[in-house]
C-alpha cells in the first residue's frame, strides 16, 4: 500500500494562495476571502468557496484552478462547494491586501456600511471622495458606480488626469 502524501489543511490553504483572482491578478483567493474552508478525508478534499458577486464570471475559472492545483498535489478526489453564508464582504480584506490593490492602481474599498432605503433613493446624498491610487489626490470624481468588473466603480482624478478603478465597498 502506498502511503498517502496528501498535504495537511494548512498546507492546502498555502497551496491555494498561488491562485490569483483572474480579474485582480495581484491578490490571491485566500486573502480575498473566497476560500471559506478546507476539509480533508484521506486523499479526498473539499474546498468551500463563496462568490464575491452573484454573477462573478471569475468564480468558475477559480473553481477549475482549485481542482487542478489540488489534484496535482496528491488528492484524487477534489470537490468545490459553494457556500453563501456569511455573505462575502470587502471588510474581510486586510490592510496588506488593500495596499496590494492600491499599488496595482485600484483604489481600495472603504467600510461596507449598511445603507438604508432612505439614503439609497436620494439624489443629493453625500458622496465620499476617493483618494487617487496614483497621485494620492482627493480631487477625484465618480464617473460611474459600475465599472470594468462587478466589483469596481470608475473614478477620475482631476489631479493627475487619470481614470482609475475603485474597489466598491460591498
Amino acid at each position: 500500500m502506498i502511503e498517502s502524501s496528501a498535504p495537511t489543511r494548512d498546507e492546502v490553504f498555502e497551496l491555494l494562495t498561488a491562485i490569483k483572482d483572474p480579474e485582480l491578478p495581484v491578490v490571491d483567493i485566500v486573502e480575498l476571502g473566497i476560500v471559506r474552508d478546507v476539509s480533508i478525508e484521506g486523499d479526498a478534499v473539499r474546498v468551500d468557496v463563496t462568490p464575491t458577486y452573484s454573477g462573478c464570471p471569475a468564480l468558475r475559472m477559480i473553481e477549475d484552478e482549485i481542482v487542478e492545483k489540488l489534484k496535482a498535489h496528491g488528492f484524487s478526489d477534489v470537490t468545490v462547494r459553494n457556500v453563501f453564508s456569511p455573505a462575502w464582504t470587502t471588510d474581510w480584506l486586510s490592510r496588506e491586501t488593500k495596499q496590494k490593490l492600491k499599488d496595482y492602481g485600484i483604489a481600495p474599498p472603504g467600510t461596507a456600511a449598511v445603507s438604508d432605503g432612505a439614503e439609497l433613493i436620494t439624489i443629493r446624498r453625500s458622496r465620499e471622495t476617493i483618494a487617487c491610487p496614483y497621485c494620492g489626490s482627493r480631487n477625484t470624481e465618480q464617473k460611474s458606480e459600475f465599472g470594468s468588473t462587478a466589483c469596481k466603480a470608475i473614478h477620475f482624478c482631476n489631479g493627475c488626469h487619470q481614470p482609475f478603478d475603485y474597489f466598491k465597498p460591498f
Binding site: 462568490p51 458577486y53 452573484s54 454573477g55 462573478c56 464570471p57 457556500v83 453563501f84 453564508s85 456569511p86 455573505a87 462575502w88 464582504t89 461596507a112 445603507s115 432605503g117 439609497l120 433613493i121 439624489i123 464617473k143 460611474s144 458606480e145 459600475f146 465599472g147 470594468s148 462587478a150 470608475i154 466598491k168 460591498f170
Partner: protein
C-alpha cells in the same frame, strides 16, 4: 409546505431576475453613453448571476437532474413564472429605467426579508442579492429623478413610461396558496407586508421626480401561472437558441 412549493417559489425568484437580466443585456452596445452601457451590463450580470443561484437551488430540490442551465434554456414560455413587467420590451431609455426602479424597489424589500428565510440556502443567496440590489436601486432611483425632473422631453417620456408600466405593478403583491404556506413556514417573504413599504418608497421618488402615479389602473396578472404576454416567447427564442441548437455543448 412541500418541496414542490419551494421549487415553484425559487422559479419565481429566478425567472424574474433571468428575464429582466436578459432584457437589460439587450442594451449592451446601445446605451446612450458608455458609462451607462457598462452600468446596464453590470446590473444584467448581477441579475443573471442571482437567477442562476435560485435556479440551481430549484434544480437540486427537484432532484430530476435539471441544473440552472436546463431550467433557463429548456423550458417553454408557459413554464416561466416571472412577473409580466420584466418581460416587456425595453422601449426607450426612460421605460427601461422606470421599469428597473419599480422592480428594484420591490426586490430591495423582498430580499431584505428573504435574508432571514428559514431555508438557509435561500437566505444566503438573498443576502448576497440584497447587497447588489442596493447599488441597482441607487442607480435607477437617481435616473428616475433626473429624467422626471429633467427637460420637457425627458419628463414626457418618463411619465409616458410610468403610465404604461403602472398596471403591471399589482402583480408583485399577489399571493396564492404556495406563498401562504411558505410564509407560514418562515421560508418566503410576505409581499403583503412589503406592499406599503414599496408604495412609500416609490411615491417618494416619483414625487421628487415630478411624476404622477396613474389613477384607477386595471392591474394585469398571469405571469406566476405561466400566462405571459406575446413578448416572452420572442425573447426566449433568442435567449435559448444557442443552447437548443447545440445541446450539451461546452466551451
Amino acid at each position: 409546505m412541500s418541496d414542490n412549493d419551494l421549487f415553484e417559489y425559487l422559479l419565481r425568484l429566478g425567472d424574474d431576475r433571468l428575464v429582466l437580466g436578459h432584457r437589460l443585456s439587450e442594451w449592451c452596445g446601445h446605451a446612450p453613453i458608455l458609462e451607462e452601457d457598462i452600468a446596464q451590463a453590470n446590473i444584467a450580470l448581477d441579475l443573471i448571476g442571482q437567477a442562476s443561484l435560485y435556479l440551481h437551488h430549484a434544480g437540486e430540490l427537484e432532484g430530476k437532474g435539471r441544473n440552472e442551465d436546463a431550467l433557463a434554456y429548456f423550458r417553454e414560455a408557459v413554464e416561466f413564472r416571472n412577473l409580466l413587467i420584466v418581460e416587456l420590451p425595453n422601449g426607450d431609455f426612460a421605460f427601461t429605467v422606470l421599469r428597473q426602479f419599480l422592480f428594484d424597489a420591490f426586490s430591495f424589500h423582498l430580499l431584505q426579508q428573504l435574508e432571514k428565510s428559514t431555508d438557509a440556502e435561500l437566505g444566503g443567496i438573498a443576502a448576497k442579492g440584497y447587497k447588489e440590489v442596493r447599488y441597482h436601486l441607487r442607480h435607477s432611483s437617481e435616473w428616475v429623478q433626473r429624467l422626471g425632473d429633467g427637460t420637457d422631453e425627458s419628463h414626457t417620456r418618463a411619465q409616458r413610461a410610468l403610465d404604461e408600466l403602472w398596471r403591471f405593478t399589482g402583480e408583485m403583491f399577489e399571493t396564492d396558496d404556495i406563498d401562504e404556506r411558505l410564509v407560514a413556514a418562515g421560508i418566503a417573504a410576505d409581499v403583503k407586508a412589503i406592499e406599503p413599504k414599496w408604495n412609500a418608497m416609490v411615491s417618494d421618488v416619483l414625487s421628487r421626480a415630478t411624476l404622477e402615479i396613474p389613477k384607477n389602473a386595471a392591474m394585469m396578472t398571469g405571469g406566476r401561472r405561466g400566462r405571459h404576454t406575446e413578448y416572452l416567447g420572442h425573447m426566449l427564442s433568442e435567449m435559448q437558441i444557442v443552447a437548443r441548437s447545440h445541446p450539451g455543448a461546452e466551451w
